[in-house]
């Protein structure tokens, strides 16, 4: 059956948040505009890259898609349901189906709990009734799915390497068998070899599980390796979006061209450093 309706959709999404940098005075904090109307769709089995520099709103957009922020305008749809203003209690029923992988598994895993306990806490969302050997089997299956030796889930996070910890972060996200996963800068702290492993793993999982994967990154090279489509964000707006092949080979906006040119390729290019330098 061909999938026609998107699993996740943002329609003219807007977001304002209190300005934490503003001096504290009387009354409510002034609000800052984080997202100007932003629209995108994400289908099952599709990997969407969201790229931008710090402050572009890429993380806020991702968190709004998961309804960790409540939008101040527009709508978020998940599997055809309007979840724009759902209460957190109502959203809890959907949470097993929408999960997140964090940038730094070191700080997102509880250092005092064994990996199995962290995975188990995530499983409580989706399958609270699962007990005993069946529960253990579900945890080990998640570990195997991310290429982690199931014996390692009895270790503590500090006993694992950075790559293994990031696999645990991914296992925790997929243990509830979600439909939508948001990955926020999940490879930026990793060595290239480990990064390649994690990217290949995400690509395989998205295909095997039919995941809709939103992949946030500041690095267009990483996006190219992994994603089917890409949104380029700047100052709370999507300045360009499209299929990866088209966008990388023929970028339509100056900003995308600047971002692309800013990422050095491992091929010496004598003109690269001076290209795009401000005239002095």
């Amino acid at each position: 059956m061909a999938e026609t309706t998107p699993l996740v959709e943002a329609r003219a999404l807007e977001l304002e948040l209190p300005d934490m940098n503003a001096p504290r005075g009387f009354g409510p904090r002034p609000r800052v505009r984080i997202l100007h109307p932003v629209s995108l769709t994400l289908r099952r089995g599709e990997i969407l890259g969201i790229v931008g520099e710090s402050g572009s709103g890429k993380t806020s957009l991702g968190r709004t898609l998961l309804r960790l922020h409540e939008p101040t305008g527009g709508a978020v749809l998940f599997d055809g349901n309007d979840i724009t203003h759902r209460s957190q209690a109502d959203l809890r029923i959907l949470r097993p189906r929408m999960q997140m992988i964090f940038q730094d598994p070191q700080s997102s895993l509880n250092p005092r709990r064994r990996v199995a306990a962290s995975l188990s806490a995530a499983l409580d969302l989706g399958a609270p009734g699962l007990r005993g050997p069946a529960r253990r089997a579900a945890l080990e299956e998640a570990a195997r799915a991310v290429g982690l030796d199931p014996a390692l889930i009895d270790r503590f996070p500090h006993e694992l390497s950075g790559g293994q910890r990031q696999r645990v972060g991914i296992a925790r996200a997929i243990v509830t068998r979600p439909d939508f996963v948001l990955a926020d800068e999940v490879v930026s702290g990793l060595d290239v070899s480990t990064q390649a492993q994690v990217l290949a793993l995400l690509k395989r999982l998205a295909a095997e599980m039919g995941l809709a994967l939103a992949f946030i990154s500041h690095d267009l090279s990483v996006i190219r390796a992994l994603c089917d489509r890409v949104c380029v964000m700047r100052a709370g707006r999507i300045v360009e979006q499209g299929p990866c092949a088209a966008l990388f080979e023929a970028p339509q906006t100056d900003y995308t061209r600047i971002l692309l040119d800013a990422i050095p390729l491992p091929v010496p290019d004598p003109g690269w450093l001076e290209r795009g330098a401000p005239a002095r």
């Binding site: 290239v192 990064q195 290949a200 690095d219 971002l259 050095p264």
Partner: protein
Amino acid sequence: MSALLEIDGLSAALKAPPRAPLLRGVSLGVAPGEVHGLVGESGAGKSTIGKAILGILPQAIAVTGGAIRFDGQDLLTLPRARLDRLMGSEIALIPQDPMTALNPARRIGAQLTDGLRLRRGLRGGELRARAVLALEDVQIPDPEAVLRRYPHELSGGMRQRVLIAAAFAMGPRLIIADEPTTALDVTVQKEVLRLIRQMQRRHGTGVIFVTHDLGVVAQICDRMTVLYSGMVVEQGAAAEVLANPAHAYTRALLAASPRHDRPDAGLAPVPPEVIDALRAEVARFGAGRRTGDG
């Protein structure tokens, strides 16, 4: 042209048993005006080399062999007082994280001029003028105002510019740049790389550039050394090593690096047989050392 810096068979290890080796006979040279890239994954020893040159190895690490000759004199045997006089004035550091490297409670001006005040004895108007010049040198607009600011009032890119200004302020002949752009946005990274290249060319400074990014090496380094587990895997002119890598590990690192001009790059990790071969090389090196010493 004789080398400005010559590292000869440098070995280092953890002091605590079992005295795990961190550097295994590393040799490399840096000529004046040359940028030498140190690349490798975490644990390769690239930052350890930088710290050994600067004499700021952590207490837990001991140098177990070799020499670090700067201008012909071995930094490892130099008396502490002479070493201290070199550091900051002849050899300077551009650190990785501009937020933790600056004292949040002191104004930029005070931090920028520490070296000139303490080592050169400059005071008052002269000191101030030199500070303004240093900031102008790194293209910071309105330097007078920036001198009065605190670090948190500046953007990450501006803070990194301040640190570059501080490193170049005393006219050093060698700079250790330890992943100076890792924490920056890509467009800011490019500006900072351009600035470091311009400054080092203008002043003829030799630079050791520590990075894990082969793209950065390709664009800024003249020569490069690939490290694995404290051992030199490959060394040569950066353009040559990147175009015709001789070692399987260098080739694997290149294959593992994603590239925005190629859809299929960046998904192949370093193959296990390459790692196994490297570990065997590391083990052979250890055995060779033991017989050599015995």
